[in-house]
């Protein structure tokens, strides 16, 4: 505690590293997820958010390990349920800034239903979908965003033969009110998107291309093809849908933003108390 006689000083603005935990990531060298972590801490520092007022909720996967690497309140939950954990947390604690992060498997395979319903519910959450088009943690199987002809998994030796999802299209069709795409190769750009996503009043989906050099070494070439969208963001969902459908999935930037108010649990009932409620049981 500072003694009374010390001169008052404005606290130093927080730095990104202040939001990092002491834990050493288990990620492989070169994994895109390192940069996502950096972008998150930058975005938090930029907003100078007190670390204790931020929660980072994840599922299971390499990407989902990110919760423990940030020094905020974290929950490393079970596979696919991060958005449900976060929905409960945010409804109970609207005062917290709640970030959710996880992989393409976590969010679109096992967690697909919660993704749909989170988009529809439009709670004030920021969802960081770390897409490497593979299940990294379980050693390289196809995910819902993997190209149909990717044959490197022994589970699907001829490729899945199934057209991948476009996460941004799904988000739009399901009703998300903010959709953007970032790239781990551009952590500053990503941090900027994250700041805006957090400022957005409703459910914000940030689709992040985050390569897995271990199981998708060819993704190391993403840096050659990723670039900004050549159009501005829109508030027309159909227009946004057009753009993402026309795109090769490699353009980054803001896609869609509709500033309608976030959903919150109903609170218009007249306040009562337990004795009054119990009185209803009397004959």
């Amino acid at each position: 505690m500072s003694s009374v006689s010390e001169p008052l000083q404005a606290p130093a603005p927080p730095q990104p590293k202040d939001y990092k935990s002491a834990l050493k990531p288990i990620w492989c060298p070169g994994c895109g997820d390192f940069a996502v972590l950096n972008a998150i801490t930058k975005a938090l520092a930029h907003q100078a958010l007190p670390a204790e007022d931020v929660a980072l909720i994840t599922g299971i996967g390499c990407s989902s390990r990110i919760a423990a690497y940030a020094s905020v309140y974290g929950f490393h939950g079970v596979h696919g349920r991060a958005l449900a954990l976060a929905a409960g947390l945010k409804a109970a604690r609207p005062d917290l800034a709640v970030l959710v992060a996880g992989g393409d498997g976590d969010g679109l395979s096992i967690g697909g239903n919660h993704f749909l319903h989170a988009c529809r519910r439009n709670q004030d959450l920021t969802y960081i979908l770390m897409d490497n088009q593979v299940y990294g943690m379980t050693k390289g199987q196809a995910s819902p965003t993997t190209a149909a002809d990717w044959t490197d998994s022994k589970l699907t030796p001829h490729g899945t033969g199934i057209t991948p999802f476009q996460p941004t299209s799904l988000a739009l069709a399901a009703g998300a009110s903010f959709v953007a795409r970032g790239f781990s190769g551009d952590p500053n750009g990503l941090a900027h998107l994250l700041v805006e996503a957090m400022q957005h009043p409703g459910f914000a989906v940030v689709h992040v291309l985050s390569p897995c050099p271990t199981y998708r070494p060819e993704q190391m070439d993403w840096k050659k093809v990723v670039g900004p969208f050549d159009v501005e963001e829109t508030s027309d969902p159909m227009e946004a849908m057009h753009r993402v459908q026309a795109d090769d999935g490699m353009s980054t930037g803001f896609i869609y933003r509709d500033r309608r108010p976030a959903w919150q649990p109903a609170s218009q009932a007249e306040r009562s108390d337990l004795p009054a409620i119990e009185a209803e049981f009397s004959l």
């Binding site: 935990s21 834990l23 007190p50 670390a51 204790e52 007022d53 929660a55 909720i57 919760a67 423990a68 020094s71 905020v72 309140y73 974290g74 929950f75 490393h76 939950g77 079970v78 696919g80 349920r81 449900a84 954990l85 976060a86 929905a87 409960g88 947390l89 945010k90 409804a91 109970a92 604690r93 005062d95 917290l96 239903n113 919660h114 749909l116 319903h117 649990p265 109903a266 609170s267 218009q268 009932a269 007249e270 306040r271 009562s272 108390d273 337990l274 409620i277 119990e278 049981f281 009397s282 004959l283």
Partner: protein, 585 residues
């Protein structure tokens, strides 16, 4: 001649209003100082199908249906045979039937019950807007000795929103029915089914009308629950519907989730945020929650799960009762995942048990499953307002700002302070991966063992006081040597069986377990002092409770078992007969 107990079944096809009449009759009896219980039963049609109001009235509290119905009134006979199983009749039963509804079904005639015509249609025809169910209500009210005047008051209160024409027509119908019985030639009608409402009217203000689902909902609120997330499922939905507006009134909320995978995780998320949280479901939903419950156990996040059991397995018999989710509640989680399982013993006990479970979950930072069942959940009882004092519990131990905060610190009790998000300096990551005291993931054997010990110790070492079971002696000629060991809603029928045995001179002890897990072997051994025979009574085909007792308790006495599946509930007579025929002593 008057009696202290009368059971009535009232049936009718879709829209005939049997349920409405039954509910009013129950309320009427309550207003007159009586006790009672009402179950509802429906045919398979989603809505508008046949319905039965199954009622029991008495001058003292009742906890189960009786062996035989004293009175059966059918508004019509369409599909009435469906309820045959549920409405046992005997030679002393009275069947009131409308000649206009056609002949009495064979099975009912065969019961030997006395048949008496009650010309509902004809009487209704004489009245403008007169509904047969209100005539039936009047007749039944008169039959069991309720007051005509209170019928009027009640009908007014109930139908006022529908306008005065309805109120008047209903009242007239009620009166017409009442008069039929009052003025019947046969003097038996005026006396044989009349209950001696001995005016416990002073206690009426402390008397509640309560369903088990309401009881669990209230218990959760009393325990501090201010967040719920759930997905509708029979027979738990009414609890959720009761809770939703009331949580809001208390500044909390209920989220309707997309499925049970979401609801349990929403609960865990809210609880992580510092708000006591719950969900309610039934077997199929509980199955889907198990992974999430395991996360709450491993991450030491308090969570209340009320499971209202229905007939299983799989979709099973959703609208009927059974006690067969015990195994799953106890053992359904993968890995070694100690948690609390409690069972509510009766309607009022739903309040106590659920409040206690909530407080235990909060204090012990684990999952508490409360098992109720369709039997309690969807029946309505007139009962004394719940009156209990729980063992003192300090509530959730929260962490205060600290530099060296360790979320999963190895404390003596096994409970580690839990930081509420927003607390500076205590940031941690809750984890379902095995973790060291700091929360950091670890695969080390010593860490794993220490955390497994801690999660078990905090639960097994807790002092649950006397609430782990209800233990009552029913003294007969001498001290009891036979103990009836049961749990959950079966307790109602067991208690009454014990009363009857005691009245016949056979002393028994009833031990009804409220705390199912962790097991309390020392406490049970104490409760069995002087007992040399134990009969386990449960409603499960595979004897789940019996198996569990064998696994976790040592008995010096031989264990007998009375176990069978639903949907027909145990009656006191069935238990008495079993004991008289099968037990040794």
């Amino acid at each position: 001649m008057s009696r202290s107990d009368c059971s009535i079944a009232l049936t009718g096809s879709g829209g005939a209003g049997a349920i409405t009449a039954g509910e009013l009759l129950l309320r009427l009896a309550g207003r007159q100082g009586g006790y009672g219980l009402m179950r509802r039963s429906f045919g398979p049609q989603i809505r508008g199908g046949e319905a039965a109001a199954l009622l029991r009235f008495a001058t003292a509290p009742v906890g189960c249906m009786n062996d035989v119905y004293d009175v059966f009134l059918a508004l019509d006979w369409r599909n009435a045979e469906r309820f045959g199983d549920e409405i046992p009749l005997g030679a002393k039963s009275l069947v009131l039937h409308d000649p206009a509804a056609g002949p009495v079904p064979e099975a009912i005639v065969a019961s030997g019950a006395r048949l008496l015509e009650l010309p509902l249609k004809a009487l209704a025809g004489d009245l403008e807007g007169g509904r047969p169910n209100m005539i039936a209500l009047g007749a039944l009210a008169a039959l069991i000795g309720l007051e005509r005047a209170s019928g009027k008051t009640l009908i007014e209160a109930r139908f006022v929103a529908k306008g005065s024409a309805i109120v008047e027509a209903s009242t007239a119908a009620f009166n017409a029915g009442f008069t039929v019985i009052e003025t019947a030639e046969d003097p038996e009608l005026a006396t044989a089914w009349r209950i001696a409402w001995d005016g416990d009217a002073a206690g009426i203000d402390e008397r509640w009308s309560l369903t088990g689902n309401e009881g669990c909902g209230l218990g959760a609120l009393r325990g501090g629950v201010r967040f719920a997330a759930a997905y509708p499922i029979t027979p738990a939905s009414d609890m959720l519907e009761w809770l939703a507006p009331r949580l809001e009134q208390l500044g909390g909320c209920l989220l309707q989730a997309e499925d049970e995978l979401a609801s349990i995780n929403m609960v865990t998320g809210a609880s992580f945020g510092g708000v006591p949280a719950m969900t309610a479901t039934s077997g199929p939903g509980l199955s889907l929650m198990l992974e999430g419950m395991g996360l709450a156990v491993a991450s030491e996040t308090p969570a209340l799960v009320v499971n209202v059991m229905r007939g299983g397995p799989s979709t099973g018999i959703p609208t009927k009762s059974e006690q067969a989710d015990l195994d799953q509640a106890l053992h359904g989680l993968h890995g070694d995942a100690p948690h609390l399982v409690l069972g509510a013993l009766d309607h009022a006990d739903c309040v106590l048990t659920t409040e206690w479970a909530t407080r235990l979950a909060e204090q012990l930072q684990t999952v508490a499953v409360v098992l109720s069942d369709q039997n309690l959940a969807q029946s309505r009882v007139l009962t004394a307002a719940p009156d209990y004092t729980l063992p003192a519990l300090e509530g959730r131990v929260e962490a205060t700002a600290s530099d060296a905060y360790e979320r999963y610190a190895l404390t003596e009790s096994g409970v580690s302070p839990m930081a509420r998000p927003g607390t500076p300096g205590c940031m941690y990551t809750a984890d379902g991966l095995e973790h060291a005291a700091s929360g950091q993931p670890s695969t080390a054997a010593a860490v794993h063992a220490a955390q497994l010990d801690k999660r078990e110790r905090k639960i097994t070492d807790h002092d649950y006081g006397d609430f782990w079971a209800e233990i009552r002696n029913y003294p007969g000629d001498g001290a009891p040597t036979l103990a009836l060991l049961t749990w959950g809603s079966t307790t109602g029928a067991v208690r009454e069986a014990a009363e009857r045995l005691a009245a016949k001179g056979r002393a028994v002890r009833v031990i009804a377990l409220r705390l199912l897990a962790p097991a309390r072997p020392a406490a049970l051994a104490g409760a069995l002092a002087g007992i040399d025979e134990v009969l386990v009574i449960e409603q499960s085909h595979s004897r789940q409770f019996h198996r569990y007792l064998r696994a976790h308790y040592d008995f010096d006495q031989p264990l007998d078992v009375l176990a069978r599946p639903g949907p027909i509930l145990f009656t006191p007579g069935e238990i008495v007969t079993h004991i008289e025929q099968e037990t040794r002593s």
